[in-house]
Symmetry: C2
Subunit: 392 residues, 2 copies
């Protein structure tokens, strides 16, 4: 089921990936423009299924690393990604058969597409996060014991750095973060070099086509004046991300955002007639509190979407006065195992709240009449709130 | 003239290298112990002349990078140096025929000896600074257009990073400095991979044997109760470091030292009956002011030596109340060319004072009777103050 991407497919993919980016993963407009430029120049983007490569084919995932707040001030040139891939190929003494995203996000789902178009390299329809996470060890690949090393990290100045921390992917993250900061807060990486058999065994499959489906659902909803959140819920219902729930809709009354230690960190607070929802983020949204109570928590997805259009708003674009809807999406089961939660569950971010599956929190905290955020949960959950086997 | 190092030769070399380290280059006791441990275990240190390798033999210089203030709190284990060399060899696809120091210094003249003993690799009797300098681009190799990249940088944890900034050695310094800080403020490097013909063309020759000569002169002076400063001056007179001058002797009355951005920076002030000398350092001493007037300036060597024994005192070991003598040494002519001064002259350190050769400053500022620091300059300059062709 190889896909050659059209311009409309690209628009859908960029927008859908930014929904899965859960506030992070970079700005979809920048990502879209980078790849659109390639399509307009006659280059092709070939997305291939996770089963379409021979077991021993080398796959080199590609991404940008850094604070999204930096990407929007220092636009990616689309050169450092080639530098990083070529350096890692040379170091390994092997040629990549394909690239793939490390995460789903408005920019980071696009970087492998850009690289694929530039080098005529297919892109595997899968990634290692199934959403966006802020740190390099927060990959299902790491959960399954894949070494992120050796990795390449490049700037737009032609220089490159190869980092090898053996099997210690947390140390790799620390070393690469320091180098990203030194490179100006944003850099191109190729990490977790893998054969295709390992990609199949350890990745979240189908996230590029899922992003296209999400983007198409939002586009169709706008065209036909459907409720975009109902459209999203419907689009997700038959996927491994089965629950899509509108948690809150309101006006942004406070944004506290700093670029610290190479990350965009902060909180955003929304208000709806005295009801409040506060999101805490580290590049991505980590936890949502409604009037002080947990409404959704990492690794479930917490998405900030424009209340009128459903368009994703990334953490670096949050502004006072925006009308936003907080839409949460359940992560696939393979991201809720104890090993997965050790790697990217609440404690990995220093949160003291335990992980509770979104759909379970939704039942507990389902708004009563007086707390109704404007759109009843039931109305946007076609299949109702099915019991879901949480892992803890 | 290959030398197999004896324990006494090692002691002399460590002490003499610390004199050439001009306050930096690391603690000679630590360096000495690291190599002594190898000699006691029966391993050999073979120092070879700069002419003893075939033109195309690969030489990989080795050193430690970081703030000397860190080395004395976090002792080198002598593992990361092997990690760095092996990683660079693998990356280049070639095996090193020899290693060599990047600079002269109490620790950094020892690291290649340690590596040579561990891996049975000869050490070339030369280096790229002819003293110690704080930054990686401050090498005669760089002055002659040799690329420092690719370089390897390793911690004691087994992880390693390869940095390639093409021909931009200043960018290499910045990237490597960030990684050194991330690695805890001290790291092992192998940089400026060169063939032996390039080593011959671009290095300061004979600095290991010069360090042994300096160390032996100090040892003999102590044994025979000679003035150590006269002994130093005599030992230097027939070398390319022709002028050795005692500038000042006094008591340390102030030390202002911070570890900033990966360097030990600060000033030390000495007093002798109201006369004062202040040294400013960045790992190494950069400029000496006597009562506000420049008495010596980088790249000439400004050495802080114990007033009684002549033993070098590195910047991290400076303490209030020490009785120190400030001994300056003229750099070889090949380090005073306009290109060399661009690379490691006063302006490269942000100093506004112009470079003036030590021997010229000494004539201008020769102490009068009332300013006599205790030891007359004439008495320690056997050949008198010969006119020396300064380059600017």
């Amino acid at each position: 089921m190889a896909i050659t991407l059209t311009q409309q497919g690209l628009r859908d993919l960029a927008e859908g990936a930014a929904v899965l980016g859960t506030g992070g993963g970079g700005d979809p407009h920048i990502g879209h423009q980078l790849v659109l430029h390639q399509l307009r120049a006659g280059r092709k983007v070939h997305i291939i299924g996770i089963d379409e490569l021979p077991d021993d084919a080398l796959v080199l995932p590609s991404a940008m690393m850094g604070a999204p707040t930096v990407f929007i001030e220092k636009l990616p040139s689309g050169r450092g990604n080639i530098t990083a891939l070529r350096a890692l190929e040379k170091h390994l003494g092997r040629t990549a058969a394909a690239t793939m995203p490390t995460e789903s996000g408005g920019l980071n789902s696009m970087i492998p597409l850009l690289l694929g178009a530039q080098l005529d390299l297919p892109i595997v329809d899968a990634d290692g996060m199934g959403r966006a996470f802020p740190e390099l060890q927060m990959e299902t690949w790491n959960v399954h014991g894949v070494s992120g090393s050796p990795m390449a990290i490049a700037s737009d100045h032609g220089d490159v750095c190869l980092i090898d921390t053996g099997s210690d992917n947390i140390r790799m993250e620390r070393r690469a973060r320091a180098m990203t900061i030194e490179m100006g807060g944003a850099a191109y990486i190729c990490d977790y070099p893998m054969d295709a058999a390992t990609v199949r065994r350890t990745s979240i499959p189908g996230t590029l086509t899922l992003a296209m489906k999400i983007g198409a659902a939002l586009r169709q909803a706008r065209l036909r004046h459907y409720d975009p959140f109902q459209a999203l819920t419907a689009a997700l219902a038959d996927t491994i991300y089965s629950h899509g729930l509108l948690l809150f809709a309101g006006k942004v009354v406070d944004v506290d955002r700093r670029t610290v230690a190479g990350f965009a960190r902060g909180t955003v607070t929304l208000d709806d007639q005295g009801e409040q929802m506060t999101l805490t983020f580290q590049n991505e949204h980590l936890i949502a509190h409604r009037n002080g109570q947990v409404a959704a928590i990492v690794p479930d997805l917490i998405c900030t979407l424009n209340s009128e259009t459903g368009a994703p708003v990334t953490t670096e674009a949050l502004r006072y006065g925006q009308r936003l809807s907080i839409f949460a999406i359940s992560t696939p089961d393979l991201m809720r195992t104890p090993a997965a939660l050790d790697c990217f569950g609440p404690a990995a971010f220093g949160l003291t709240e335990p992980y509770t599956p979104l759909e379970q929190l939704a039942v507990t905290l389902a708004p009563t009449g007086e707390h109704d955020p404007g759109t009843g949960l039931e109305a946007v959950t076609p299949a109702g709130l099915r019991a879901h086997p949480g892992t803890r």
